[in-house]
C-alpha cells in the first residue's frame, strides 16, 4: 500500500491507526512517502504499532520537492507486493478494504480495481460548512482517483508509473494509459474508503482549488477524458452554468435579455442545499461565497487552458 503525505501529519497518523484494523490475513505493508521533519518521523512513524509489526516503512523526501505523482512513484517502486493499493493521508479505509480490493482481482497481471469512496460518516456534519472538500466515487470510474485504487505492480512497471509532469489529474492519466494498454478497470463497491470532510474559509477553498487549473494538461494528453466532461468542455454542470452566467452579465450592457443566461446558474445555486425553505435560505446566504469560488475555479481552468492550449472550463 502506498500513501503520499504532505502537510497533514495528524491525518496521516489517523490513517495509520485505521490501517491497524485491516482484516487481510496475508502479508501486506504500507509505504509512506512524506516530507515531514525527522523529528516527526522518529517520534510518530517509527514508534507506530504498524512499524513495530514491520508493516510500515516511510521514505522521507526533502520538503518542497514532492508532488502526488512523484511521491506515489517513489512509493510503489519501494513497495514489495505484487499489488499496490493507493490511498491518501486524508482517508480512513474500512477494515475489510484490502481484502475486498484483492478479492475483486480476476487477472492479476492487468486488472485495476477501484473501490468506493464516500465522505467519512464520522465527519458528515462538516458538510454543513459553506466551503468544504471531500470525495465521493461510485466505481468504476469515471476519474479513477488514487484515494482508493489497486494496480498490479507489473502494470505500473510497464506503464512507467504516474506522469510526474502532471500537477493534478495524474491518477486519471494513469488509468487512461492502463486502459489503452488493455487493462480492465473493475469496480469494487464494497471496498470502501472514507474520505475526510474538511471545511475551509473562502480564500482557503479558492487556494485549494487552484491546483485544478492544471487539469488542462490532463485533457490535452488524454482527450478521451472529454467523454466524461459536460459538453466535452466543462468540468461539471456548475462550471457550465457559471460560464453562461458570466456571459449573460457581460452581454447585459448591450442587451438586457442576455441576463436570461444567468437563470441556469441561479436555479442550480438555489437548489444546492436541497429543497425546502430552510435549504433555500441557506443556499441564498451562501450564494456570494459560492459565486466567488466557482468563478475562481472557472478562471483558473481558463488560465490553464491558455497555458496548455486546449479548452477546459
Amino acid at each position: 500500500m502506498v500513501v503520499p503525505s504532505h502537510g497533514r501529519p495528524l491525518r496521516l497518523l489517523w490513517l495509520l491507526n485505521a490501517l491497524e484494523e485491516q482484516t487481510l490475513s496475508g502479508p501486506w505493508d504500507v509505504v509512506v512517502v512524506h516530507d515531514y521533519d525527522a523529528g516527526f518521523a522518529e517520534r510518530v512513524l517509527d514508534r507506530h504499532p504498524l512499524a513495530r509489526d514491520g508493516r510500515l516503512r516511510h521514505v522521507p523526501i526533502p520538503p518542497g520537492t514532492g508532488s502526488p505523482a512523484r511521491q506515489r512513484n517513489v512509493g510503489w517502486r519501494a513497495a514489495r507486493g505484487r499489488f499496490v493499493a493507493f490511498t491518501d493521508d486524508d482517508c480512513r479505509p474500512e477494515p475489510e478494504w484490502l481484502d475486498r480490493l484483492l478479492a475483486s482481482v480476476r487477472d492479476p497481471e492487468t486488472d485495476v480495481v477501484q473501490g468506493a469512496t464516500r465522505p467519512d460518516p464520522l465527519e458528515v456534519h462538516l458538510l454543513a460548512a459553506p466551503h468544504h472538500r471531500t470525495m465521493a466515487t461510485e466505481p468504476p470510474g469515471p476519474f479513477f482517483q488514487t484515494c482508493n485504487i489497486l494496480y498490479p505492480r507489473a502494470l505500473l512497471e510497464r506503464l512507467g508509473g504516474f506522469d510526474e509532469r502532471a500537477v493534478s489529474g495524474e491518477d486519471v492519466g494513469l488509468a487512461c494509459r492502463a486502459r489503452a494498454a488493455g487493462s480492465r478497470i473493475v469496480g469494487a463497491r464494497r471496498a470502501v474508503v472514507n474520505h475526510a470532510v474538511e471545511s475551509h474559509t473562502l480564500p482557503g477553498m479558492v487556494r485549494e482549488n487552484l491546483k485544478w487549473r492544471h487539469l488542462a494538461y490532463l485533457v490535452k494528453r488524454h482527450p478521451e477524458v472529454r467523454r466524461d466532461l459536460c459538453l466535452r468542455v466543462f468540468w461539471n454542470a456548475d462550471h457550465l452554468a457559471m460560464t453562461l452566467a458570466v456571459a449573460g452579465v457581460a452581454g447585459a450592457a448591450r442587451d438586457r435579455r442576455a441576463l436570461a443566461l444567468t437563470a441556469p446558474w441561479a436555479v442550480r445555486a438555489s437548489r444546492r442545499r436541497g429543497a425546502g425553505a430552510r435549504a433555500r435560505a441557506t443556499a441564498l446566504a451562501e450564494l456570494p461565497g459560492q459565486s466567488v469560488r466557482q468563478l475562481a475555479e472557472v478562471a483558473g481552468l481558463a488560465a490553464g487552458s491558455v497555458r496548455h492550449r486546449t479548452l477546459l472550463l
Partner: protein, 159 residues
Amino acid sequence: MTRIALLDDGDAGALAAALRAAGHDARVVRAPSVEVVDLLLARRGFTGPLSHAPLLAARLAAGGFDVAHAFTAVDAVAAQAWRALGGGRVVFTCRETLDRSSLADRRLRLWALRRAVERSDAVAAASEPARDALWRWMAVEAPVVPLDDARAQLRLYGI
C-alpha cells in the same frame, strides 16, 4: 501568591479549594452560554458550546490572573486569546478520552483541539486513558496529572 483561574465546565471546585489551601488565589471562572447561538451554530455543523468563549476571555482579562487552567479545548482557545491580550500562562488538561469518532466530527472541533494541545504553555492528561488517547490521536505526549493533586498542578503552572 499566584492568581489562578480554573475554567470550569463542571467539577474544578475541589481543585480550587486545594490550591487555596496551598496559599494561592484560585478561583473558578465560568461564562454563560447563549443557548440560541449555540443551537444555531450546532445546526450549521459547529462544535459546541462556543458562545461562552468571548465572555470567558473577557472575564479572564478582567480578573488579573497569572494562570488560566482550561479543561476543554474551546476554553483553552479562549484562554489563549486572553494570553494574546497580555494575560499569563495557559494550561490545558485533557479530561476527555479522545477517540476517532470525535476528533473532527464538527466544524472547529479539530482546529480547537490542535490549538489547545499545540499552543498551550503546558498540556496534561487527567487520566491514563486520556493520556494514551492524546498520544494515539494527536501525537502529543502529555503527563498524567490527576485533578486532585494540587502540588502536581502547581508544577504545571510553573510554580
